[in-house]
């Protein structure tokens, strides 16, 4: 928990004297990778962040988008990887808590939570199973208690996360534009700390998260208390309604050090505070501990003397503590005292702005031969293989996970989890679809194309509900950035995301970088996670019951892009080959025509084709709707391919449409005009899922049997193992 030697020199020269011990603690927290983004900040600027709907204000921890009629949505994404790898329940729960407070800071009510979870191979690895089970419970217990629905996410297992965990949490807020907190402060305003008491939990958490996980440091993990968080949410929204908040920031990584210095720096003010005024859990905490504790459920608020009485009254109602810990000054200094004694007195811009680094990058050696394929063992019985495939942890239904999350509370969830993306109704009659996606297997093989693929997949998922993507959140998770090869993969992913975002004019409204994700056996695979927010003006596509005779149409070509596919990795245990590449123009054509067909009310349901390929996507439709389907593999558009490639290629930009026969003529007219590649490939009916070639059943599964396996296998594995 200290600064690098050159950073210490840098600090000493900037302040012109030797720093005190409290100053060292404050700066070490704020200059940690976690808080300062010192490795990534220079490069993140390449992402487009502006757009017609984007509202930017100083000091916001979340992105804000105007959804019309005087309403806004806010969104943010965070991870809690290191803590969750050590203590999955508390780590995951406090991850939820942190991102919720970011949403609250803007003055909006949190209305949805998303979680992206990644662990080692839970089929073999008992520790991975333990991490998974407890992280899910941690998220459930926290989100459920808050009454904020967890409506979507993803779960993935890969050996690269052995003895480790990625826990990503995103949240969405909603509110009136006029109620947004416009952060401002003037000399003499009061600085108030509201919420839970400051204790010794989470001391040095941000530095802990900015280093490779070598020893289990449980004291760096924060303790969750969702009940206090719920009270804080209600108290703050009441205070917001009474216009009592001038500026607000949540206490997250780096605790008071970061909240105070960043607030002061963003608003160009100084703050003088007294650690004796901070309400603490233990009586003998020293100033250094108080300044860097990452105890949860705390908010920093700037208000004035007149408003304080009303704020006090609200806090009394909810029985939460609120302490005036300092006041605003005009000297741009962060002045920390203990009674009369000065512990730290630093220029806020020095504290809040670490010297940014320009790290070297180099293409990793492993990529040289990665695209070469090896000869695979032929599959003798695809039906048997398919049953194994749909019961595999990555393909199996995640109902065991989302069934533990209250996804209905708030009564906005009009499209429920388990579909391509959930959809929430908003107060202005519009609808919001949102989804997060990642694909480290693709990203490992090609960090640029893999990242673009995640972006496109998340877009596809919201498009399937009829929503137009309006904003993106990115969470870039990589190993140790001091390794030039890892840093190269970070840059490649970022460049790919930037190109896609610019082409589709989807602004990045928020994001996070998490580095030093290293396991005992090496770095994790590059794991960018993309969250997409989509807006529906009129009505979302409510999936309708599929009946006998309904048609199956595919849009988009199936290509020979098997690298990083579940089929290669899970069935053949082979890591390599060419990963799917998004053709931007095709992607746009396909996205637009699908949205058009939904708007014209021609479709019963739409499903995207992704993990596990066409075979899994069609089966998912059949298992969800409990109906069979006959698919002709020779009709699938794209280059001529072997049957396993048609079935399991994970090529992007593909959508499966289900419609009534009577609508096919109209559909074909529109598709022809759009220039999208498409074909009618199947018909629904019967009790079997069949993929046929030359009148032979390549795959033949009973829907009921497949459905039971698909729904139950993850629970069976976790509960009965």
């Amino acid at each position: 928990m200290s600064l690098e030697p050159q950073e210490l020199d840098d600090l000493t020269s900037k302040i012109g004297r030797k720093p005190t011990s409290t100053e060292l603690q404050i700066v070490a927290a704020e200059w940690s990778e976690h808080c300062s983004y010192k490795s990534s900040k220079k490069h993140l600027k390449m992402l487009p962040m502006k757009g017609p709907l984007v509202i930017s204000e100083k000091g916001y921890d979340s992105g804000v988008l105007d959804v019309g009629d005087g309403y806004v949505i806010t969104a943010h994404i965070e991870s809690h990887n290191h803590p969750s790898a050590v203590e999955p329940y508390g780590g995951a729960a406090t991850g939820v808590g942190g991102v919720i407070r970011d949403i609250l800071s803007a003055g909006t009510r949190p209305i949805a939570i998303f979680d992206g979870l990644r662990f080692g191979d839970i089929e073999k690895d008992l520790q991975a199973r333990w991490l998974f089970k407890n992280a899910v419970t941690g998220i459930a217990d926290y989100g459920n208690c808050l009454g904020i629905p967890t409506i979507g996410g993803e779960v993935e297992f890969d050996e690269c996360y052995s003895n480790y965990a990625l826990v990503d949490v995103a949240a969405i807020g909603f509110g009136k534009k006029k109620n947004l907190i416009k952060n401002h402060a003037k000399k003499g305003d009061l600085v108030v700390l509201l919420g839970g008491s400051t204790g010794r939990d989470g001391i040095g958490g941000s530095q802990f998260a900015s280093d490779s996980l070598e020893s289990e440091n449980r004291s760096a993990v924060q303790i969750p208390d969702p009940f206090i968080e719920k009270l804080i949410i209600e108290a703050i929204l009441e205070a917001r309604n009474q216009n009592l908040i001038h500026a607000m920031k949540d206490l997250g990584g780096g605790g008071l050090s970061c909240a105070v210095s960043e607030t002061a720096d963003a608003l160009s003010i100084g703050i003088e505070m007294d650690v004796n005024k901070v309400h603490t859990r233990e009586s003998d905490m020293n100033p250094d501990e108080i300044m860097v504790s990452e105890s949860q459920e705390r908010m920093l608020i700037v208000t004035n003397n007149d408003k304080l009485k009303k704020l006090d009254k609200i806090c009394k109602k909810f029985r939460i503590t609120c302490s005036v810990i300092g006041h605003v000054t005009s000297n741009n200094m962060m002045h920390v005292k203990k009674g009369k004694k000065t512990c730290a007195n630093l220029p806020t811009d020095v504290v809040a702005n670490a010297t940014l680094l320009d790290r070297p990058s180099k293409k990793p050696a492993y990529l040289k031969n990665i695209e070469k394929e090896k000869k695979l063992k032929p599959i003798l019985d695809y039906s048997k293989m398919m049953m194994k495939f749909i019961s595999s942890p990555n393909i199996a239904s995640k109902i065991w996970v989302y069934g533990q999350y209250d996804h209905e509370v708030g009564i906005r969830t009009v499209v429920k989890p388990g579909m391509d993306s959930s959809v929430l109704r908003l107060d202005n009659g519009k609808f919001l679809a949102a989804k997060i996606d990642g694909n480290p297997k693709h990203c490992y093989i090609n960090p640029r194309e893999g990242a673009i693929g995640c972006f496109e997949e998340a877009c596809r998922n919201v498009v399937c509900t009829g929503a137009k993507p309006i904003g993106m959140l990115d969470h870039l998770q990589f190993g140790n950035p001091e390794n030039p090869e890892i840093f190269w993969t970070f840059l490649e992913s970022l460049k790919g995301l930037t190109d896609f975002a610019k082409y589709f004019e989807i602004p990045c409204v928020g994001g996070k970088v998490s580095l030093y994700n290293e396991t005992p056996s090496g770095p994790i695979k590059p794991t960018p996670i993309i969250g997409i927010l989509g807006l529906i003006d009129k009505t979302p596509l409510y999936s309708q019951k599929i009946t006998t005779g309904n048609c199956l149409v595919i849009i988009g070509d199936t290509k020979n892009e098997m690298g990083g596919s579940e089929y290669f990795e899970y069935i053949h245990k082979f890591v390599g080959g060419k990963c799917p590449v998004v053709n931007f123009q095709e992607s746009k054509t396909n996205m637009n025509i699908v949205l058009d067909l939904i708007r014209k009310d021609l479709l019963k349901t739409v499903h995207d084709c992704s993990k596990g390929g066409l075979a899994v996507a069609v089966s998912e439709i059949c298992m969800t709707h409990q109906i069979g389907c006959n698919v002709s593999l020779e009709k699938v558009p794209g280059p001529k391919l072997d049957v396993d490639r048609i079935l399991f290629s994970e090529s992007h930009s593909r959508y499966l449409l289900v419609l009534e026969k009577k609508n096919t003529k109209k559909l074909e007219e529109l598709l022809k005009k759009s220039k999208a590649s498409y074909k009618m490939i199947g018909e629904f009916g019967g009790e079997n899922i069949r993929f046929n070639k030359e009148n032979k059943h390549v795959i033949d599964l009973r829907v009921d049997k497949a459905q039971k396996t698909w729904f139950n296998s993850l629970r069976e594995l976790v509960v009965h193992g």
């Binding site: 459930a140 459920n144 009454g147 206090i228 719920k230 009270l231 109602k317 209905e408 708030g410 009564i411």
Partner: protein, 226 residues
């Protein structure tokens, strides 16, 4: 005509319930913070779901000692319709207004899923527009939703027609698949599933009519003409 929606620290379905009462069924509803008293002109009281006091000690145990519960008890005696949903049901049980106890689900997990109820008593203020044995598609969302009574109490419940709803399937291990009960007079009803999450077609993928009849029953009971 006024319906009181009681808010405890940690209630989180209060706003949903209020929305359904006011925006969907056009009733006059008002929130009452748990430390306040209930005015005399209240015609019905609803205890919404949530995690009062973060489920500390036992779900509903602390909220059952809130100052407002005294007034709720008085109103229960007077025969005023009182409905507890989910955590509200747990609170009514802890307050002794309803028999039984709510235990951890047999899955030991929080469960959020759609299921269906069967109406077993359509004489209460909240079920009088439903048909006996009518099915209600409805979601549950709870960790401690397994209703438990001993055999003797169960016999008594049956005899006095206090079982209001049963699950149509085995959901969480509840005694006799009980999902909702009432007091002997029938004016106090508690249920684990969430009718406020099922009363609008937009959020109910199956059929919102039966759940909306729960609210329409209340409308009829308290004399609001619709």
């Amino acid at each position: 005509m006024k319906i009181g929606v009681i808010v405890f620290p940690g209630s989180n379905c209060d706003r949903d319930m209020y929305h359904v009462l006011t925006d969907v069924f056009k009733l006059d509803a008002e929130y009452f913070w748990h430390e306040k008293g209930l005015p005399k002109n209240i015609d019905a009281v609803i205890l919404p779901g949530g995690f009062s006091y973060g489920d500390r000690l036992r779900s509903g145990a602390i909220a059952a000692h809130s100052p407002i519960i005294k007034d709720v008890k008085k109103m229960a005696e007077k025969g005023i319709p009182i409905l507890g949903v989910c955590n509200g049901f747990q609170i009514l049980v802890e307050a002794g207004l309803l028999p039984g106890a709510l235990l951890k689900n047999t899955s030991l997990n929080f469960m959020c899923k759609w299921t269906s109820l069967i109406v077993e008593n359509n004489k209460t203020p909240f079920t009088n527009k439903l048909k006996l044995h009518q099915k209600i598609p409805i979601p549950i969302a709870n960790g401690e939703g397994r209703y438990y009574v001993d055999d003797e109490t169960l016999k008594k419940l049956k005899k006095k027609n206090q079982i209001v709803f049963r699950y149509s399937e085995v959901v969480n291990g509840s005694s006799d698949r009980i999902a909702g009960v009432c007091n002997e007079d029938g004016n106090v009803v508690g249920m684990m599933p969430h009718p406020e999450r099922a009363a609008e077609s937009e959020i109910n993928p199956i059929d919102n009519k039966p759940s909306s009849l729960i609210f329409e029953s209340l409308l009829t009971t308290i004399g609001v003409k619709n």
